[in-house]
Amino acid sequence: MTSHTCSVKSLHEQLRDTLGSGKLTHPWCRQKVSEIFDLVHDVSQGQAGPDHLDSILELAGQLTDRGPAADCRESGEFVTAFVEENREAFQSHISTHTCPSGHCPMLTPAPCQMACPAGIDVPSYVTLVGQGKYAEAVSVIRRDNPFPWVCGLVCTHPCEFMCVRGRMDSPIAIMDLKGFAAEKSMSARQYANPEPLPDNCRKVCIVGAGPGGLTAAYYLALRGYRVTVLEALPVAGGMMMVGIPRYRLPREVIDREVAMIESLGVELRLNTRFGKDVTLEALRAEGYEAFLLAIGTHGTYKLRIPGEEDLEGVLPAVPFLRRVSLGDHRMPGGRVAVVGGGNVAIDAARTSLRLGCEQVHILYRRTHAEMPAHHEEVVEAEEEGVQFSFLTIPKEIRGENGRVTGIVCVRAELSEPDSSGRRRPVPVEGSEHVIPADAVIPAIGQEVQSKGLEAFEQVDWTRRSTIRVDTVTMQTHQEGVFAVGDAVTGPATVVEAISGGKKAASAIHRYFEGIAQPALPAVPVRRRRLESFEVPGALKSDLKRPEMSLLGRERRRITFQQVRLGLTDQQAHDESRRCLRCDICIRCGKCVEICRDKMGIGALQLGYLDFDEPGPTDMRITAERCIACGACATNCPTGAMQITDEDGYRVLSLCGTVLNRLQLEYCEICGEVLGPARYHDYIMKRVRDISPEMGSRRVCLDCARSKSGGRHAEITPPRE
């Protein structure tokens, strides 16, 4: 991800060319360069150990110092200089088994892992779920994200948008599998923290106990730092706790995962607002040397219409959701009008229903198609009885005796797209109407509440009123001060805040240790290399993405019980088997090309290999056409395509998916394996003219040759 070339791959190719060119004439030199080549090959294959780098340099040194010829010494000098210059890349390949550029096929992360802002090794944990190893799955996830359960319920799952299976039918239910593993693991009391490093006596203060702040706290605590998290609210979790309603994310889930972080020794100071209850000077006096600002976006945009400021019953969505989350379950009013079309508007509307409001209206200025809220949220709101008024622009909030009685709106029409392609709502003259309401909930956007942060004088702000950082390190313009989460990105996602927290923890550690900060974003690290499941191709094609059971509609309207009820064991295991294991197959398409273009067979119809224009995929067709020649497997750069002979059959499989299984035949003369009949026929058709003697007999080429040779011996060549 960080560069267009890979230095390991580059050296690998240069050494291969040197050996192949015949330039090195001295046998000793050839032997040494060959040994270096093997070691570099190990590095590019993820098979290198911690001593590989030293061994490469040692061999290169031998070439330089003891080389009997000039080209030998030059090769040694070249390797030494190259490895020293690219030492970091070599070490990264060895320690993380990941190739940042994607040029080492065996070390390329899967698209789902690359897409995850936190860089979770998705294929590994999906496979572990299928194996029933839930605690192991959780520990793989927590290498990159300390909130598997939370993210298993509310992640925006960019991984699923990039899931290669989605090009075939539907993406793997990655998020649901994460939630399943976390719940199972927690329930079995096997959800555990890794062992932290010993206390290093250095103190870090984090302002804000949301996902970004707590993630940084977790990874810093694991590195031995003393971490204190200040939180203005009486609960930890930030927007996870007070922004996401309980029916999507039960409080217990957050509490349990926060408790795991706390158990590493992280101190949580609740009801403590930075700048009011505690000052920067006081914290510095306590010994805090680095600060992380993770204050979220708890402010709200105003509608800026008459009646908004002075009437009782106008409740901005963020404080309204916070109030409900903290236990105030009073109904805002019998009839509620929510203004906005985003996720927060939907959350406010569905929450109002659950509080007992009789009529809940969402007023949105554009059409259903332009609503920025996630589609499934809109559908569930509709199912629960939320009413939508599209193309409706609020103009004034009306009231009597100081209380809201309704909202005056005008109808709108969408204009023709402007130069940027956006269609703007244009009010329709004379369309003014009143929608009766006892409460109005504006939900048109959030902003950072920066009050109290003036103490950080050098922290810079963007024109969006967010904290300006270097997004690789999350460093602000003030030394020792970092920032993450919505305060940096504007209202974003839980997993992005988690990603920021992880990056900040690493950058804070480098800051303390005086290590240079990275200039480019980190690349996800592959955590495990697991065998894939053996699944028949037909079953692999037939398995469908599971449909999760939902709480009954009637109950959803009246309680805050979790709506999505989770996967069953069978659903989770089947879904794990549906995964195409893109951590093994890099979708280079060589198998398809060779089968079609070189062998002229076309038995592999794997349209999903193309990102931009995926074609049809049919895993059954292989069994109908494939001759089991093995050309695809031989040319597969990662070993994803395998051909094996077992129990009298030749089996072709792609990442465990059995594409073809043909009975083997044996030579009638010597008993050698001939391959399946189809393969034998394919070969015989091509050698028929050369060796016509065998007819329909099943004999191997050696026996055929010796038979033909016998006949040739009887032929007397014509005399000259």
């Binding site: 991800m1 960080t2 267009h4 994607g102 390329t108 698209p111 690359m114 897409a115 995850c116 802002p117 860089g119 925006t156 960019p158 948008f161 990039m162 945009y301 906005g340 079309g341 985003g342 996720n343 927060v344 554009r366 332009e370 920025p372 809220a373 996630h374 589609h375 940027s420 392609g421 956006r422 269609r423 939900a443 048109i444 956007g445 959030q446 963007t462 024109r463 969006r464 270097d470 997004t471 690789v472 990105t489 504007g490 209202p491 974003a492 996602t493 992005e496 200039a519 480019l520 974003p521 690349v523 996800p524 990102f611 931009d612």
Partner: protein, 70 residues
């Protein structure tokens, strides 16, 4: 242009927005999918989340993006 979740996009040029950073130059020409558009108010100024093919997920300004298919 209003971007929708799931749309395929191309980063067709460098952005003029202040949030554009040097390392993003490498993204020009890449294809990806909108994974988290502005989910609150359809703001053309908002940074939106894009998953790039093989290059990770990033929050980018909208002026560098062009829809290439549905």
């Amino acid at each position: 242009m209003t971007f929708r979740q799931g749309q395929k996009v191309k980063i067709y040029r460098r952005s003029e927005d202040e949030s554009w950073e040097d390392y993003m130059e490498e993204f020009i020409g890449l294809h990806g999918i909108i994974t988290d558009p502005d989910t609150s108010k359809n703001d053309p100024e908002a940074l939106i989340e894009v998953s790039l093919d093989e290059k990770g997920t990033h929050r980018l300004p909208q002026d560098c993006l062009r829809v290439i298919g549905q």
